[in-house]
């Protein structure tokens, strides 16, 4: 499987995407560049969430807590205590990892079922919102404003637009590669077995608690780092955007539409739906407010009805039908 890992890295599809990704964006008008950056943010987030939500099959809504910690805490540390944002990124990621481990432990200790897990993680996310809005250190309800991005790399500044694009591209690729690596490592096998049948997993030697914690910690830390990079791009740390249930519901939606549990599924969903959502809003939002939500909703429902396991498996099927000899990847 390790060979498969490297084969994936050097496959022509990847190379084409990479070349396009490098050549195209600098030529884009800033509105489209913004859409590309946003899509990359969600590619990274959906892929990070996939480790818990897709591979381990645990629909966690607590991830807005990790994204929010990465964004709000690193910003607050810089503005209130003068902590370098790189260090803030590390501190936030560690705190997110610890919170993730705690949630995984609670899930195991109290043997939460699927629904209880969703509700508990939603409660955690809600608590995060309340804490941020009530605590002035984190900006309260009005949020925090980062200093202007002058492109000082050592101060975690990347020069706005194009710089942010490069950062997000790297994060998106890293997030996807971590997915590929986990799926080909023992952890991927353990998580998928736990997801499909927890009792059977225990009966063949899988330590449930250890691997649920591992998945949650990796996923939480990654989400936190992406949150820090995202807030630097936005400059304004808005709690209603970054710690809100909406951001995590979008992430879950993109991952599900793309294909849960697969290395490229969530990325695929985000790449498709973020631009679709933005363009619909751009074209229709002014003339017929609400219509873009409606069309967007219809598309999502159609996809889920057509292929409940997401779009990627559907495309793989078409692909293998067109080229019967080509083996499909997982």
């Amino acid at each position: 499987m390790r060979q498969e890992f490297y084969k994936t890295l050097t496959s022509p599809v990847w190379l084409v995407i990479l070349v396009l990704a490098v050549v195209l964006p600098p030529l884009l008008p800033s509105y489209y560049l913004h859409i590309v950056i946003l899509a990359l943010v969600y590619v990274a987030l959906a892929s990070a969430w996939n480790i818990v939500g897709g591979m381990a099959g645990q629909i966690s809504l607590a991830h807005s807590l990790f994204i929010g910690t990465g964004a709000m805490l690193s910003t607050a540390l810089l503005l209130k205590l003068g902590v370098n944002m790189w260090l803030g990124l590390v501190i936030s990621a560690i705190i997110s990892g610890v919170m993730g481990a705690m949630i995984a432990w609670i899930d195991f200790r109290f043997q939460l079922g699927h629904l209880s897990f969703v509700l508990i993680t939603m409660a955690f996310a809600e608590m995060g919102t309340v804490i941020v809005e009530g605590w002035d250190f984190l900006g309260g309800a009005s949020g925090l404003l980062l200093p202007q991005d002058k492109g000082d790399f050592l101060a975690f500044q990347f020069g706005g637009g194009i710089g942010a694009f490069w950062v997000m591209l790297v994060l998106a690729i890293v997030s996807i590669l971590i997915n590929v690596a986990i799926l080909n490592a023992p952890l991927g096998y353990y998580l998928r077995t736990i997801r499909d049948n927890e009792n059977a997993a225990r009966a063949i030697g899988v330590n449930i608690l250890r691997y649920k914690i591992a998945a949650m910690v990796i996923s939480a830390m990654l989400s936190s780092v992406i949150g820090t990079a995202y807030v630097r791009y936005l400059t304004f740390a808005d709690p209603y955007l970054l710690v809100s249930p909406i951001i995590i519901i979008e992430v879950v939606l993109f991952a599900t539409v793309g294909g849960l549990g697969r290395a490229y599924g969530p990325a695929f969903g985000a790449l498709l739906l973020v631009p679709l959502g933005e363009i619909l809003r751009g074209k229709l939002g002014g003339t017929l407010p609400g219509l873009h939500y409606f069309i967007y909703g219809v598309v999502v429902i159609a996809v889920i009805l057509m292929s409940p396991r997401g779009l990627l498996p559907l495309f793989e099927k078409w692909f293998s039908r067109m080229r019967p000899k080509a083996a499909t990847s997982k």
Binding site: Y189, I204, N207
Partner: protein
């Protein structure tokens, strides 16, 4: 010293005593059969031994050490593995994936994948590596239960009705596997309703009725035991 010692084990569910003060010992290399009517407590006994549910009372030792309170996955690592009477399904994995997970107990990933393929071939499932367990025939699902156990390289396997529901002809393959495993030194404890199978395989048989051990002897003696005939064969003959 016996490899597995079950010492006065009791398991209650509320007022129901599913396993009542059961003791037996399994020396290394033996095939021990456990029989008893439906609801006698056989599966519960296996769940207690394999760490899935704690005993209400009693002591269990594996390789000389107490294993009460040890989690199932740690027992697998120590060499004690169980199969499930109810065949286990996996929604989004192939048979090879599932057996690979089992093989990871003692092997690094690449070896585990090769070994899993080897184990599937050994139980007669070559060519079915990429199927989803849910699409398998009952016979293959039972063979997969066996394959999962084998892939963990156990010292002792608890087999819970791996032949149930199979035709006599279909039991030949799993029987051969059990024999071969045993000849390689693996200790086997098997619950089985299919009498011809257990009579031919087991070196000793424990009979359980209403949670209690009512007899323990060699197969040829067991079929002569009046209590066993009353408790077990009687019921089956009537049915």
């Amino acid at each position: 010293m016996a490899l597995l010692e079950v010492d006065k084990v009791t398991r209650r569910f509320g007022g129901l005593v599913a396993v009542n003060n059961v003791s037996f010992a399994v020396p290394e290399g033996e095939i021990l059969g456990i029989i008893g009517p439906n609801g006698a407590g056989k599966t519960t006994l296996f769940s207690v031994i394999s760490g899935f549910i704690p005993p209400s009372d009693g002591e269990i030792r594996f390789a000389g050490e107490s294993i009460v309170g040890v989690s199932p996955d740690r027992l697998v690592r120590r060499g004690l593995v169980r199969s499930f009477q109810v065949v286990q399904t996996f929604a989004d994995m192939t048979t090879l994936d599932v057996v690979t997970t089992a093989a990871l107990t003692r092997r690094p990933i690449r070896e585990a994948i090769d070994y899993a393929a080897h184990v599937l071939q050994r139980v007669g499932m070559a060519g079915k590596e990429l199927l989803t367990p849910a699409t398998l025939s009952l016979q293959d699902k039972k063979l997969l239960e066996l394959a999962k156990c084998l892939a963990t390289d156990p010292r002792c396997i608890l087999l819970d009705e791996v032949m149930a529901g199979l035709t006599i002809a279909e039991t030949e393959a799993p029987m051969a596997i059990v024999r071969e495993l045993n000849s390689q030194g693996v200790t086997i404890v098997m619950v089985e309703h299919v009498m011809p199978v257990i009579m031919r395989l087991a070196t000793r048989i424990v009979v359980i009725n209403f949670g209690e051990k009512i007899a323990e002897a060699a197969p040829e003696e067991i079929i002569k035991d009046q209590r066993v005939i009353d408790a077990y064969f009687g019921e089956h003959l009537d049915a």
